[in-house]
Symmetry: C2
Subunit: 159 residues, 2 copies
């Protein structure tokens, strides 16, 4: 059952559920790689989505990246995303929701004293039927904004 969806979450409701699939990554400083990814969006009846994501290596399934945070819908199709990364970055992204597509870009990024240097992230999430296409561009370690990740995930549950 669970709580009723908050009215302000209508614009982001298409993201709810657990999504799982595979992706490919590239960046000027590393070798191209393939990965498995799981994304989960859930709600507790309040006007935000909780979010967690993790990726793993295809083959031995060792964990690669992970991130967690909250998605806050705003009036007129806006959205704010508050996110923590285990490599030492806390990040706020802002963006727009258009139909079943979200475009996000870094509003502010801060690093812990020992964090990797990340200066800007741009994301797009597009849902078509039961497929979530998840793309990420990143400026980090002195590289300009560059395509980094593309994954296609299938909706496994809707909550």
């Amino acid at each position: 059952m669970g709580p009723e969806l908050h009215a302000d979450l209508q614009s982001l409701a298409f993201l709810l559920g657990t999504w799982r699939g595979e992706g490919k990554g590239e960046y000027p400083t590393i070798a191209p790689f393939a990965y498995g990814e799981e994304v989960r969006f859930w709600h507790v009846g309040k006007p935000f989505l909780a979010y967690s994501q993790r990726t793993w290596a295809l083959g031995d399934e060792r964990p690669l990246h992970a991130e967690m945070g909250y998605w806050r819908p705003q009036p007129n199709g806006g959205v704010e995303v508050i996110m923590a990364h285990p490599f030492g970055i806390a990040e706020i992204e802002i963006g727009v929701v258009t139909g079943q597509r979200v475009e996000l870009m870094t509003h502010v990024v801060e690093g812990a004293p020992t964090a990797k240097e990340v200066t800007r992230v741009e994301r797009s999430l597009q849902v078509t039927g039961d497929v979530l296409a998840n793309d990420l561009r990143m400026a980090a370690v002195a590289q300009p904004i560059t395509h980094h990740l593309h994954a296609e995930l299938l909706r496994k549950t809707d909550r």
Copy 2:
């Protein structure tokens, strides 16, 4: 089973598990309140703890606060915490681990455009036997650093 604990996590291993109990909150701008709290620390074999926390109202159990993030042990008893809050704050705390006690303070806090204003957080977590005492002081909404939360949680599982 799960993965083997990363050697760097020894200093924080006493936090692992799910903790549940009750607390009391106060702040100059609000009426005192009591709450239920669940804290969960887990690991995936890498040198950080994943962390999630949620609180609820005693009685009707409606959700109150929540937060999620990552705890990164550092050499010589240091720790960095990267945390996201659903009211629009991304926060990095730094601190020290002494035995089964962690003291943290804000390193940097950033807000989304519509976030509540929080300027500084200080936390202490102390484990004694199977009890986690969780204390938080906060400077927010133009108030100086002030005691806000105290909870005592029981260890429900150790993973």
